[in-house]
């Protein structure tokens, strides 16, 4: 039996197949008379059955066969295609999802006996439909048993990570050799190194492209999720998505999806009222300068901030005294504290009180920020600001004590060498070409005891304004390779991340917005 060796491949392939089935079911729900949807459904289920057979999951095969029979009955016209039948198939998908999770954790399938028995009952007493309501039952029998074919291959993200790391190492070494070749003034060697550098960079770009997924693809599961939760909460909710053709690195998308799922769950469970017939959630993503902005908004009941404050006191998140001093703008941050749920029953979708605190942690992991805006009886809007990842970039780098710092060249307007070393400790502005430019200082992000006199001024373009950063040490232009943030960077939220120079040194990349 192949089970253990090919388990990961089976899980990822079946996950994809379940997603396709969910998409088709949503289409069928809107257009139950379209026979193509049922045919596609049947073929997908048949293909899943084949995969399960390869793995030896006998109960899964039987369960899938039952669902196939259900769909076949709908095609033949012996079973009504209505809300109840479709709900039944949706619930079967939930069971199959649960099965995948179980297999992932325990390397064996779920006990399907009850689920199989329930489907048997339905199949033994189908509801016949009128002739006029029948679908055009002509379908190509060959098509129904056509095998699932794919020219695609599923590669685990961690394998791509490994290749990325090896490639980064190669690039750092090539950068180092380039430096040596330039110094040696050997044009032939330099020419070959430049070619190698170009090839390695092209390889990196192709690898990055493989890791990039369109938001559309990732968001496409969400209507099904909203439908599931709304059904369980007995609410009417529609999800509208605007993705603006944005694509992102898979690692960021994975984190982002978890955040969005939690916010959407919140909207359905806490936002939209049961009495609302027009429940709507809007998911919008856009790119603004160097950040991704995602909003999740609903037209529900809105948030009563006075109740949030009272709950925070009741749950001992803050003291009564502290609550009296709290400004209105600071109340929304209380929502992100663990244990702040107002739902009395801790059900599967909401009410555990940890959802928004998980959101906050995930956003922090991505070096992002979240804002909440809400109006009573009109709705609530969560806005996420997530910085876009850097890759390989040119930078200005310098040393401050033990710390190697760098700023991406994209933010550098110019560098000015001062005619003489100057102490800017007591100055708020730097005058350059008769213009007053606001001075920044690194004390906002670094525990510096002394402000050293500056040799250079770095002019930084931050949010379309120019600021001046005095630099005490020598500076150099450096090509850096950005790396994925290790967990330790959680302790340094004011920095963008870490990048490697051609000499293999690690540099702290400033998040210049935090200098303001």
């Amino acid at each position: 039996m192949f089970s253990e060796k090919y388990k990961d491949l089976y899980l990822s392939t079946t996950q994809e197949q379940l997603k396709s089935i969910a998409d088709v079911l949503l289409l069928l729900e809107r257009n139950p008379k379209n026979p193509e949807y049922l045919q596609t459904l049947f073929i997908s289920l048949h293909s899943m059955k084949g995969s399960a057979a390869t793995m030896g999951y006998k109960d899964t095969i039987v369960y899938l066969h039952q669902i196939e029979s259900l769909v076949q009955a709908m095609i033949n016209g012996t079973l009504l295609i209505d809300k109840n039948t479709l709900d039944l198939i949706f619930r079967s998908l939930d069971t199959l999802h649960a099965n995948l999770q179980y297999i992932s954790q325990h390397s064996q399938e779920l006990d399907f006996k009850q689920a199989i028995a329930d489907l048997e009952k339905i199949l033994k007493s189908p509801v016949k439909i009128k002739k006029s309501d029948k679908l055009s039952a002509q379908h190509d029998q060959t098509a129904l048993v056509a095998p699932y074919e794919s020219t695609e291959m599923i590669v685990p993200a961690k394998d791509l990570d490994k290749i990325q790391n090896l490639l980064d190492d190669l690039l750092v070494n090539i950068m180092s050799i380039k430096g040596v070749a330039i110094k040696s003034a050997q044009s032939q060697i330099l020419s070959k190194v430049v070619t190698a550098d170009t090839l390695a960079n092209n390889l990196r770009r192709e690898l990055e492209r493989m890791r990039i997924l369109p938001l559309e693809q990732v968001f496409s599961n969400l209507p099904y999720l909203v439908r599931s939760i709304a059904r369980d909460e007995h609410k009417n909710v529609e999800l509208l998505i605007e993705h603006n053709d944005i694509s992102l690195d898979k690692s960021i998308l994975d984190e982002l999806l978890e955040i969005i799922v939690q916010l959407i769950k919140n909207s359905v469970v806490h936002g939209i009222k049961s009495s609302q017939k027009n429940g709507q959630i809007n998911l919008h993503a856009s790119l603004e300068s160097d950040e991704l902005v995602v909003t999740v908004s609903d037209n529900g009941r809105g948030i009563d901030w006075s109740k949030v404050l009272a709950l925070a006191v009741n749950k001992k998140v803050i003291s009564v005294e502290a609550s009296r001093k709290l400004k209105l703008v600071d109340i929304p941050s209380l929502l992100f504290h663990p244990g702040m749920s107002s739902k009395k029953n801790m059900d599967i979708h909401g009410g555990r009180g940890v959802g928004l605190s998980v959101v906050k942690d995930r956003i922090k992991k991505l070096n992002g920020q979240v804002e909440i805006a809400s109006t009573l009886n009109k709705g609530t809007k969560f806005t996420l600001h997530l910085p876009l990842p850097l890759s390989i970039f040119r930078s200005i780098a310098w040393q401050v004590g033990d710390w190697s710092l760098a700023v991406p060249m994209a933010y550098v307007d110019r560098v000015v060498k001062l005619p003489e070393i100057k102490d800017f400790s007591n100055d708020k502005y730097f005058v350059y070409n008769k213009k007053r430019i606001k001075l920044l200082n690194l004390h906002t992000i670094l525990p510096l005891e002394i402000k050293a006199p500056a040799k250079y001024i770095l002019f930084l373009n931050i949010q379309k304004n120019i600021f001046a950063l005095p630099i005490a040490s020598s500076i150099k232009e450096s090509e850096l390779v950005m790396k994925k943030n290790p967990s330790v960077m959680r302790l340094l939220p004011k920095f963008k991340g870490l990048a490697i120079s051609s000499s293999g040194r690690v540099n702290l990349i400033l998040d210049i917005n935090n200098l303001l």
């Binding site: 090896l166 490639l167 190697s404 525990p447 330790v488 870490l498």
Partner: protein
């Protein structure tokens, strides 16, 4: 006590012989460039770069409250934990050993498992304990 052949990698820190469970990432390396971080955390020495990976270097001596002067290019023992790479700063890497038994020192709360090498107790540093008991990231 657990009785099953297990492999460990041993190293010296100050005068102590210590061990860590052997895994696929275990290797000793010399930390050539260490980036200090602007944080107030006694356990974290900084970040280094090795074979395409960022490695967070940990002050192993602080786990035990030892009086140890870390060199500027310390020897480190590489291990991975929850997707990140870490290097334990050590004096000297020793060897890999296979032992039939792991013992428990009941008088200790943390790093209380040990193996016997030439009748000497060699205490084990487990990654899980380092991060959950010491709360490195708090």
């Amino acid at each position: 006590m657990s009785s099953k052949n297990q492999q460990f990698i041993t190293f010296k820190l100050s005068d102590r012989l210590l061990a860590m469970p052997l895994n696929k990432d275990s290797q000793f390396f010399s930390c050539e460039h260490l980036l200090a971080l602007p944080i107030n955390n006694k356990y974290i020495a900084g970040v280094s770069y090795l074979n395409g990976q960022l490695v967070t270097i940990l002050r192993t001596d602080k786990f035990f409250g030892l009086n140890w002067k870390m060199p500027s290019h310390p020897q480190c023992l590489l291990f991975s934990y929850q997707g990140d790479f870490y290097g334990l700063a050590v004096d000297q890497g020793i060897d890999t050993v296979t032992v039939p038994q792991v013992y428990l020192e009941k008088t200790k709360n943390i790093f209380n498992k040990y193996i016997k090498i030439n009748k000497q107790k060699v205490f084990i540093l487990e990654a899980e304990q380092i991060f959950t008991e010491l709360k490195i990231y708090v």
